[in-house]
């Protein structure tokens, strides 16, 4: 064996062993029963570098949230607000405890939250979707204009528009600087438009199981700045009602008895679950602006499992059929091509595991395309060899020319397809991206296996000086 051939084989064997080592954790992880995996996942003990299954394959739900940019504070740039919103949502979910969740920014003002295998997406959704805008407003029901507005409201159907803003025809009835909020029991209160103190001034929040009326309550404490502001607000409004407004609804409006600086309570007719959620969201902080769910996909675990099973077994049959066909049609050359194809699959899995890539249905499509192109590369090479063989050339020349002549077509077609993959990666969203990622990895790997590895195999065979290789 020549030195260069020996080096080639060392490279191939090292890559193969490395790939198998990368794939092994996958095998260990996915051979565990479902329940055990879920348990380990919630403990955060999922191995790092393994393949993830997309929601379409394992079941779960994904939510796409849109941040209402029009309600952002002028002082906060969009990028900061988005980063903060993502951080806050992550805190909320972590405290609630729902396994492996991915929260990513998508586009300008969208946030994608993926909750794999969550049994109760509604609870998670309620948690994420709450703006948790806590505000304290002084109630101003006592003016005649306010009373007039409220009587008018009670005869109307819906004074707020879809986004929860007051409709203009109502707003113009009110004196300057006033607004209206709905109370929890369905009534209305006129209040000071500007909130002097907000949830941003909070330091901590905790749940009180049995409050004044037997309902759970949420107790909170202010930070230094908040305490100062709240002290001023309460001191100058003793005897008046103070509305505690959460997400545009008045939770309660107690009368201010004395100056309060440090702590407060939100009481109302909360259920235990509601109070628990409220505590979490207050602790994690308010979102910079309200979010709206603009896309929601839920895939039941049974569908995911079914589609994995039938999809995997069919793909396996298809692969076997291809392997068999290649051996029957191209004999030894077909066998070599098959070996390269299997190696291609192994390397692809290894690379995807290394990057903890997520496998989805479109991702499988990308793999299929890359495998087909790997087969095609070998068909091109073998057909070229056959042409040379018909011309009666010696075996070493046949192999040399087969590779040399097929190379430009293989190179060009792979590069063109990789270019397409890059465009899709740049512009595509979730599923299209999944396709592009597996396609690009697959094609890169296939340039190595379908050309470099197969050639090394032929050269190894040539060292024994065969008269002929069956093509």
């Amino acid at each position: 064996m020549s030195k260069s051939l020996a080096i080639k084989w060392i490279v191939i064997i090292v890559i193969l062993l490395g790939s198998l080592a990368l794939i092994y954790p996958n095998y260990r992880w996915y051979s565990k029963p479902n329940a055990e995996r879920e348990k380990l996942e919630s403990l955060g003990e999922r191995p790092q570098r393994i393949l993830n299954l997309g929601l379409d394959l394992r079941g779960g739900s994904s939510l796409l949230l849109e941040l209402d940019v029009s309600k952002l504070s002028d002082r906060e740039p969009l990028n900061e607000a988005m980063a903060r919103a993502i951080e806050i949502i992550r805190n909320r979910i972590d405290q609630y405890g729902v396994g492996e969740t991915s929260i990513t920014r998508q586009g300008e003002k969208w946030i994608l939250v993926q909750l794999p295998g969550v049994a109760n997406p509604a609870a998670a959704e309620a948690l994420i979707g709450k703006t948790a805008m806590l505000e304290f407003h002084i109630v101003k029901n006592d003016t005649s204009a306010a009373e007039e507005a409220i009587t008018k409201l009670e005869s109307m159907e819906e004074p707020f528009d879809q986004d929860g803003a007051l409709k203009p025809e109502i707003a113009k009835l009110l004196p300057e600087g006033y607004t209206i909020f709905r109370t929890k029991d369905g009534g209305y209160n006129v209040v000071d438009k500007t909130a002097k103190v907000t949830g941003a001034d909070l330091d901590d929040a905790h749940l009180t199981m049995y409050g004044e009326n037997g309902y759970p309550e949420v107790a909170f404490s202010f930070n230094a700045e908040g305490a100062k502001k709240f002290g001023q607000l309460t001191a100058s409004n003793i005897g008046k009602q103070l509305a505690i407004v959460l997400d545009n609804t008045i939770q309660s409006a107690p009368v201010v008895q004395s100056r309060i600086t440090k702590e407060g309570r939100i009481s109302g007719t909360f259920t235990l679950d509601e109070a628990r959620q409220l505590t979490i969201v207050l602790k994690a902080g308010a979102l910079p602006a309200p979010v709206r769910i603009i896309e929601k996909r839920t895939i039941g675990p049974t569908l995911g499992e079914d589609s994995i099973k039938s999809g995997l077994s069919a793909s396996l049959y298809a692969l076997l059929a291809i392997l068999l066909f290649m051996i029957i049609y191209y004999k030894w050359a077909g066998f070599i091509a098959d070996t390269a194809l299997v190696l291609n699959l192994v390397l692809l899995m290894a690379v995807m595991s290394y990057f903890s890539a997520t496998l989805t249905v479109p991702g499988i499509a990308g793999i299929i395309l890359s495998l087909a192109m790997a087969i095609d590369a070998n068909v091109l090479i073998i057909e070229r060899m056959r042409e040379e063989k018909l011309l009666g050339k010696p075996i070493a020349t046949i192999i040399q020319l087969g590779y040399d002549k097929a190379w430009s077509a293989i190179f060009d077609s792979n590069i063109t397809t990789i270019i397409v993959g890059c465009c899709l990666l740049q512009f595509g969203t979730g599923p299209v991206k999944g396709f592009a990622v597996t396609l690009i990895i697959g094609l890169t790997v296939s340039l190595f296996t379908a050309v470099f590895v197969t050639r090394a195999m032929y050269e190894l065979i040539l060292t024994s000086n065969p008269k002929e290789i069956s093509l």
Partner: protein
Amino acid sequence: MMTFFPKTNIDFLKYRKVYFTISALIFVLGIYLFATKGLNMGVDFTGGTMVQVKFEQSVDMAKVREALTQTGSESELQSYGDNTYAVREKGAEGNIDEVQARVEKALDTLNVPYVVQQTNFVGPSVGQDMTERAVWAIILSLVFIIIYVAFRFSNILWGTSGVIALFHDLFVMAVAFAITQREIDLVVVAAFLTVAGFSINDTIVIFDRIRENMRLHPRASLGELINLSINETLSRTVITSITVVGSLFILYFFGGEALNSFSFAMLVGCICGFYTTVALTTPLVYVWSHGGESRENVSAAPVRKAVEAPKTEKADKPAPVQTAASSKKSVRKSRRNRR
């Protein structure tokens, strides 16, 4: 040696008018279908709500439909087989929980146990964004293909022909979806992209062969070169198509519902792709290179021009394209001939 195609010598260009007519007819049919039936765009693009349920026993589709009409809202019902149905409300601004509750209430009246397998709610702005991004990704890809192929084959006509062939494949797929009224969702878009990949691959293989034959046979007419190249690569085209189409059939019949529309789209695209490769791409190059005249023997000028291709390419070649000694010699020879 086992071969399906020993050595063929078919005059593929001879029937180019037939191919062009067939493609033109498909084009007209497609436009007619798009205008009358339209494409069944999924909620991924239109926005709306989809609820997919599976009954535990077989239920008559008409009964399911009847139950749904009681909801009073406009919904579409689609059967996926295996007692699985999808209910869609397209473009609805409503809330998924409301729609789902409404659908479940209606289905409860059938008194057949079922499970909700999948629910999708896509807001209109998301659907629009998805469509825009998909369109941009495709346009950008096509432009880059034209640029790359023009660069590698030193002729913009070739890249353009390749892109037209690609469009042709995608168009036929869209027609198939218009006829069957299958829903186009994101998975189907992935299939479209895959077929686009195949289509370019096929085109490049033939172009590559023409490029090589130009060097080997500098005196041959473009028509002869094209026919020779298609014949020489025919075996490869057939074998590759067999492996791909064969495995797609397996995926189509046994791949389960998640892969069904994907494999259907791929099957249509790949079968059509085979036809396009042989009958459309290179005849287009031929016709365009000659201004559409059907000359048996093309005058030397265009061939010469084409033969020059490898020379200009050598200067800015990014990769070892031609290493074979024989072809290098032929390039040199052809240059000498021109002098």
